[in-house]
Symmetry: D3
Subunit: 294 residues, 6 copies
């Protein structure tokens, strides 16, 4: 085996097929860092539940402080890298400035922006905890098999997907690129539940079983909604030019959607209090209070 020539060929391919490799990868968000910050955030939300930490009254404040510090130091850097990347790839930039000046400007603009959003996220933690507590209560109410809140927190993948979504959504709506998607795809891999960070979801949301659920970017979901495994809230068309249009459905308060139902279209509204049966196919709005079956 001539190893050197095999390596030459690969190096060559990096030159020619440059589009998918990045030397200088330190300027690009790092997946592992984002995932590790997600763990810190979940530890703040459920102290003592998710990751092995010997928490007592004596050290709760100090463990909290360390999570907060770690989030600030790691997430700020990753968000800054994501912002710089997006700014750099846009046309234009400031005319007449050299490459170095441009980079400098981007860096100096992006860092305070990143710092501000991370700070806002940490301030949002108590509100996210309030929402998540309602989600936990909804799971206990909604699932006959649920014994108590603790079992839900410890074992329900649906809850983990919602918690991560509430974090990713906060970053998404504050203009952070790429990072929220890395978060949502990470929990998609763990749970089979694919919620785009852009989806707007109300209080007391309950997902049961969850595998195969897809919730699109422009979906709007009200309060007290329950959905089961394999439900799709999707688009009718996937044309690239619709990128900024509302392409996914609206689900009003108190709706239940059973397993395998497919609801498509940006103008499709599932009216308040409706029930959508399993394996149904819905591409038009459904009035409030409907029980929709095949």
């Amino acid at each position: 085996m001539n190893i050197d020539s095999m390596i030459d060929d690969i190096m060559d391919s990096y030159e020619k097929q440059g589009g998918i490799n990045r030397s200088g990868a330190e300027n690009f968000p790092n997946r592992q860092n984002v995932v590790s910050v997600l763990q810190d955030l979940q530890s703040l939300i459920f102290p003592g539940f998710k990751y092995e930490e010997n928490i007592g009254t004596g050290n709760l404040r100090y463990i909290t402080g360390l999570h907060v510090n770690r989030i600030i130091s790691i997430l700020t850097t990753e968000i800054q890298k994501a912002l710089v990347f997006v700014v750099s790839n846009k046309d234009g930039g400031e005319a007449n400035s050299t490459e170095d000046e441009k980079k400098e400007i981007q860096n100096s603009h992006c860092y305070p922006l990143a710092e501000k959003v991370v700070c806002a996220l940490i301030k949002e933690i108590p509100e996210i905890r309030r929402l998540v507590q309602l989600d936990v209560a909804a799971a206990v109410r909604g699932d006959p098999a649920a014994m108590n809140k603790e079992e839900v927190i410890l074992s329900y993948p649906g809850l983990e997907a919602i918690v991560v979504h509430r974090i990713a959504y906060f970053l998404y709506k504050n203009g952070v690129p790429i990072i929220p998607r890395i978060m949502s795809e990470h929990v998609h891999g763990k749970t089979g539940i694919d919620i785009h960070p852009g989806a707007k979801i109300g209080e007391s949301f309950f997902i049961d079983h969850g595998t195969g659920i897809v919730i699109g970017e422009t979906t709007v979901i009200g309060n007290n909604v329950k959905i089961y495994q394999g439900v799709t809230l999707g688009a009718l068309s996937v044309k690239k030019e619709l990128q900024n249009a509302k392409r996914h459905p609206t689900v009003e308060d108190d709706v239940t959607i059973y397993a395998g139902a497919t609801i498509l279209g940006g103008e499709t509204v599932i009216g308040k209090g409706s029930t959508i049966g399993g394996n149904t196919w819905v591409t038009k709005s459904v009035p409030a209070g409907t029980v929709f079956t095949k």
Copy 2:
């Protein structure tokens, strides 16, 4: 950034939104410990297959002994914590006893109980191995793509889900709370197959592909049953008061259920030898020998 005030707010939220955080988390079952015990149990069932261990005739007994010891020491503690948690959260307790006495009593009752069930589980290993061997053979028979038993053991997610279920079911039916559910949701995350630990499943069970399968708590499945990806064996109603009722179907011996079929209801019985077609919707019983399609 005023970090201290942000931390104050989070600490405050722990005070007020107490329901989902636990200081004193050392008294609550630990997910990582439960998952690590699952690895020990799988190593006992398939020595040398699952986790890197240099097993030879000289050390098999010693490696076996260490797994057994680790299971005893870790799982007993976790089960005890789960029992204490459930007992403590129930109303009543022994009247006139102080908090400390109550705690003492619970602890002293719960530990021997936990020890007894762990001991029983280890004694059950040979029986679980017998069942799993039949499951492996069913996979080789049932999948044209399966080359041999070893490939099934090394790579089929369906088999992993079944093995974990057989362990979790043993604990469930012996009255262990929370732990079995942590086990089944762990393997749900890895495989997309969601089998409630309460489901009763016969011999020679085969799951192909598996992603999206949901099998509810009161399901009963006979021998030689095959099911494919996306099959739901669910409830018709999810009212909380049905918590103790049989809500999920019965599947008799020699039944095959193809991908995406949904079978609902506690009184729904799929008769012996039937075949349920893909993407079908079944809410009533089907007589033995039926081929059911849309």
Copy 3:
């Protein structure tokens, strides 16, 4: 608790229920090694993207060299073990030769074979990178929510499934047993996308969301095909004797298959440019240019 007698029972079960345990496991492919090689291969394909590596112009060649060396040393051994295992389990072998001679012969035949295929795989990397680059571009074109190539590489599970498939398929078609399946089931666990290593897939393939997709061993897929979550490309019959027949469909160029569609049968052909609607059930060929809905 009499631990020794419990261990005796388990040891006994290893004697009697020998079919699923292997002492001498060092002669069997090791799952963790295969997974770690997959990481090396993905690092070669997307240097700097997937795993934390501080890559710059100064060290790219050296990191590349180490990945290549690690792949050669680990994968060659694992493939050799898989080959020896398969050869040993076949009837026949060379008559009149003793056990030791047989083992020797197998080992000496299998090692050069393994070395040759690993060498070929590394030489194939530039071609795999070319294909993967087209797959990335297809994702950016096909998903309105995709912001840029980098987001796709960092976060799309569909892309990860395709990349691993292109590696596993290369090994499969070069006659490597067991290993490709371990690879595809590993990424199945991570993404919920189950592509058998034998499936033949053209250029510019795009999978969106992906959870629940099943693509069978003898499937043939053309160029520019898009498929969504929950799609099955499966067999009409799962009789063991069909092991070597074409049992799964053919999908021609420029076809889109929406979520939950089930397409079955080895003679079923989805004609060029067709669109298959969501939740449809297709067991017969569809002419080119068809829009197929329920």
Copy 4:
């Protein structure tokens, strides 16, 4: 090789030669825990110097808090075990009490004692820091090769030995058995400097090079003392019955002892301001202001 019979012989030896093995080792202080607490203590004394920690103004308090919590939780347990061990091995105990009662009493007495001493140690940290700061300044003054305080803190083994001694001495004089000795022997291994935890050492102590230094249990050292490598402050007799007598010398303020000097005996006093030459042998007192050479 008959492994089982070899193991039998070793097990047998544990039965018969019981004196140096302990099953039930969890009731005995654990060396690794003690060493890890030493690291926490040194991190408190020199934050950011000794162990990799990214310390800034934002997180210093939180890192401090965690070290304090870890010291409390680990060291309290280890000291309790040491106390229980020593109490259990003494004759007597409370007459008429059963084994279990005795154990209970010991445990309940020992835990509060351990907690109290750990609490006192943490309160002593600021005083220890004050002393260590003087020791650092003494090193900078005393060694022409020392560039600055930071170099001394980062690299001088003599300083590390003194810091650990100041901690071990505090525990020793507060009645903690075994643990202080584990600490001093740990730093003896790292530096070649062997200071018994019982030695009483004044302010501004400087050790240069240090290898081979031995300072005995009942040594008393004043302020501003400098000693070099290979110096022994030892006993004239090592009779066991002298266990509680002052067996080691007294060194008054402002004394310098050059390399290889041996000073022996509990009544030997090196008078204030004296200089003891290298390789000398001193078994009688030396008046203040003496320059003692061979």
Copy 5:
């Protein structure tokens, strides 16, 4: 910086200055493996004392079994490599045999030899434990500061040096090259006590403080001997041609040698019951019962 040319220069130096680099290093004993086996051996000698292991009556046998298995598998390989290395570097070898044949023969001769000596070492453990127990008792008797056996085992570097020596000496006298020296230099680094593996040491040996002690290859030490820090038992001449001569002293039973004494020469005998004073220089024999001072 032109990194490639700097690497070229280093590669070049490997070509030209070949004597101290080894590609193909896998054929050479590995220091880390030898050190890890030393830990297994010490765990066998002091179960539960040295390394964190949760030992109870239930698992002692299994932990013992695993240590034994690990010693067999690792140490046999390392000894074989050492034997092959030494055989290969000797002149001659079997005439007329090719390189490959030679290597084969060496390997096949060396492996059974290595296996035999490892087996013998494990059988020797009970005897080594008997000796070590006497050494522990000697330390308790000999050091007024020693509180009990446990403190000695947990913290005395002198004891660790003796234990490792008793292991290394067994291998040395059974003809194992290089490995015993790696062991003794490892403990030399930890304790400052340098005992050549060839030194023959009697029962109830006590080393106090220990730093700087040197005991040469052909030293012979009787029973009940005590030595202090900085003692040298060395050679009068270090001519290479004396390699196989007795170059180091003989110390008879019941001798005490105080700190810093230097005793040189192969014919120098320290007679039974003598005491050698600190910092003395001895190059001639001393009759039994002498108190030798400057």
Copy 6:
């Protein structure tokens, strides 16, 4: 226990006793990084000997490349931090410049300086290897107990001390502050041999046993010198104002210094070919060819 008030006291002590703590520790050289670079450097000098690396002809260049890259990236940063630290602590600086400008200037001056010296160090590796090879040969010649070069490389602490010294000396004479001392004190801890990085040492240097050796900053040693354990090459006076004077002895070619000898003074010269006896005390020059004993 009031933990918060204990932490307050420690925080307070950081305010008041600021001299030995550094928040902002990231601007200070990190001991662990320096030690890890030492391992990379030793791997370059003895590839395959020191740390577990599976080196073969195929990957030697790539492993070499990675070590070189790691040294460049880690050591450059650490040296820059050391330079910035020293510059910042000096009086003066550039008048009229603000704090930020000063910092900027220091950083921009220090980085290229650091880069240059690291580059020079890597270019020096072949020369260091040439010297070390001579040192290894000297050990084999000088120690009757040395079996071969490989045993010396694998186990002699004296050789490790010399190798580290040759690296540290190169950095020292190129003006790197603090780092060389961290290196030499690290190996001092491991071997008991304390060589100041400033000492100038010739070819073919041999240290036997080594514990307790001290070699001062301005020592000059010729070729073919042998020294034994406990030898001091020290200063007659340790007055701080002698910081830049030659304070330590000169040892000419072909000198042997036996164990425990003390040689002091900057004008003391041990003439070519002399032998200095054990435990001697030398403060005046010794003519060439002398055999010096007490």
